[in-house]
Symmetry: C2
Subunit: 418 residues, 2 copies
């Protein structure tokens, strides 16, 4: 193939990926135990974020989280037994995204955990996202596991999921795109800021909550309270919506557009639509604003796939929609605008649905083209939560995806298609 | 007094006004029939927006709205009888702000209409605001009165007010400042955009609605739905909060800061804290984005006091917080930022509570100093709804308060204190 033919094929394929991303219509249809709905997730399995590693390669917080997941699921009596069983392959490890799941930080999924079921009717695909553990800084997904963490997970399984699932089913399904569109006009970029989206989601279910109140008063009240008191509740829904959107865009021959990103404790990985493989590169460095009392030497990586939101043009790519992040992750408003503006140089198009008010409603830069990243040297901005070695969230910040990863991806693309 | 003494007195007085505005804590404590709570509002009285005129001077939509108010209250059997009774002084006309009320557009208040009771505990003052008529474009406050308008007003009195009032009383009162602070981070300027504030207000009352649902299911559901489906519900609360804030700042000897603004069908009026009098000037011109099918020659003035929000630094003064207004009233994001920046030249200080994300959380420009307006030639920007002659809202836009008004006010100030 000549260079020109290759460019022309790539252009057409990338347009198709962009078209599919834009035509996606994520809808929350149900909340179910992961074991009932997630493909190939069996009871003796723990899913975790990022490209799959061998058990022996998981260390630090992500290893601790895997062990915590095994204990939570009753797959071992204590940490030593869990380690032995992982080692022997009696507990299997899966990569979230190989199962249409999407992992926040360590991204632990086990069969009994409830998951949001998110459909994409125009494309007949679905994705799954498990539920936020709440505002406590000690969470399984940050590598902590103790009675407090277990109790919260039990409460999510036994109270939050049934009540919310009932409300979702009564509603006939909650279309997420309209909520996300509006949230972008209200200071969210739908990764590190989900305040408006959480409120809008809660408002969408008020009629169902009111119908359920006579029978389930106190429980409905508690669950409804969770949705609005915790400004991050919607994150798992925006991640699931982004995953089901990106899923629809997979498998377009010749496309160099990123349809998946994810970290494990060792690598930053991405997948392009036109190549059925993870490309891995080094972990990034983060410009973080740490919570009081924490220092940069505590920062650790234990995986994370919430950057699926960036994959469809939200999060760090749409920072200019979310100035309230200044209070959370630091920075400067003009710099946030400049970052989003830079992202138009590496993306395929502008979303007709997700729009950025301060740019006079210009569509979000959507569809990261690996080749454009390499040509311009601009790597994507990513808004991330920052984990500390102690199993806590210790801050939030902005990450630049590493250039080496995109260079490796471009290389692979050219080898496959050149 | 020398010029320097005068300047120094004015500076100190204006700082005191600014301090009072900032120290105000508006709280919605109840919803009650106006006749029970509004001072000196008697049953044969209709309040309306702007400095008080003689009956014969009210024309167009404001006159129609006064007649509509009289008919709604049962003070006359038909329009001719209402006119005759106004003419004979048998129905009294009052100015909203002389009764601690604040009028939207024509601003009609009668004794049976429910009003929000908004307290300001640090200063022991309270203000009143009546309720939004809903998204129908035909409304009493735009000069329409027929069975449809009457039915909606009845519904507000008989259903919305009792249900919402019960929820508010059960809550022990809803502090409005925290909701307004958050709304400014979510795309509201709390005059022409109240989307986030309406959602936040609704979320604040969910626990009470759920408690009330077993007894009052369908009605609670309908009322809760109104709060969120209609993105303007909160406007009357932001107006009431602004009024009770400005009220606390009245009566500071020597102050040239505006504590009240209001239009009637003939004049644009303002009051300064240090002078117990309305200063009146010409009606402004508006840069409006009209709804489809309407033209500029239909624009008419029938009063309006929602610009009390600008009086405390919100609305047009904080346009840079509300880019979503671009979709509603047109314009350009950079221009909105420039407008807010210009407003710092004419105000006393920056609000410690109401802050503007795109300006890196700079406080809203607060406390319009008449003398600074005259010195700089910058008159305040005001975000307004635009009324048409037919009794409808026909658009929304930005108004510049007229320079002549501020020149007259400065003149009066110098006569009083010079």
């Amino acid at each position: 193939m000549t260079g020109q033919q290759l460019a022309s094929q790539r252009h057409a394929a990338n347009q198709e990926v962009f078209r599919r991303m834009c035509a996606s219509e994520p809808v929350l249809s149900d909340i179910r135990p992961a074991g009932e709905v997630v493909p190939a997730l069996h009871p003796a399995m723990v899913l975790t974020s990022g490209p799959r590693l061998d058990w022996s390669d998981y260390d630090g917080g992500q290893r601790a989280a895997l062990i915590g997941g095994a204990l939570y699921e009753g797959l071992a009596a204590d940490a030593a037994e869990a380690e032995a069983r992982f080692d022997a392959g009696l507990i299997e490890i899966g990569a979230c995204q190989d199962h249409a799941c999407i992992g926040s930080v360590a991204g632990i999924y086990t069969a009994s955990m409830p998951v949001f079921v998110i459909e994409n009717p125009p494309f007949g695909v679905r994705a799954f996202s498990n539920m936020y553990e709440g505002r406590a800084r000690k969470r399984l997904n940050y590598g902590s596991f103790d009675d407090e963490v277990r109790n919260r997970l039990d409460q999510i399984r036994d109270s939050v999921a049934p009540v919310l699932g009932e409300a979702v089913r009564r509603s006939g399904g909650v279309p997420l795109k309209p909520l996300m569109q509006r949230a972008l006009h209200m200071g969210d970029e739908l990764h590190s800021r989900n305040t408006a989206a959480s409120l809008l989601f809660s408002a969408a279910l008020i009629p169902q909550f009111l119908d359920m109140a006579p029978a389930l008063g106190a429980e409905v009240k508690r669950v409804a309270g969770l949705l609005v008191e915790d400004n991050y509740f919607f994150l798992r829904l925006s991640m699931g919506a982004a995953k089901v959107t990106a899923l629809a865009a997979e498998g377009v021959t010749g496309s160099s557009v990123v349809v998946s990103m994810g970290l494990n404790c060792r690598n930053f990985g991405l997948r392009m639509s036109g190549l059925d493989a993870w490309v891995v590169g080094p972990l990034p460095t983060v410009e973080a604003k740490l919570f009081d009392g924490h220092t940069a030497d505590e920062i650790t990586w234990l995986g994370g796939e919430s950057i699926i939101t960036e994959t469809i043009g939200l999060g760090g790519l749409s920072q200019a929609a979310a100035f309230p992040l200044l209070a959370y992750q630091g920075g400067d408003a003009q710099e946030m605008i400049a970052r989003t503006e830079a992202m138009y140089r590496i993306t395929v198009g502008e979303s007709p649905d997700y729009r950025i008010p301060v740019l006079n409603y210009r569509g979000a830069p959507t569809g990261i083209d690996v080749m454009k990243v390499v040509e311009t040297g601009q790597t994507p901005y990513l808004d991330v939560g920052v984990a500390g070695r102690g199993g806590l969230q210790i801050g939030a910040g902005v990450v630049r995806a590493p250039a080496a990863l995109f260079e490796a991806a471009a290389q692979l693309y050219l080898e496959a298609y050149g």
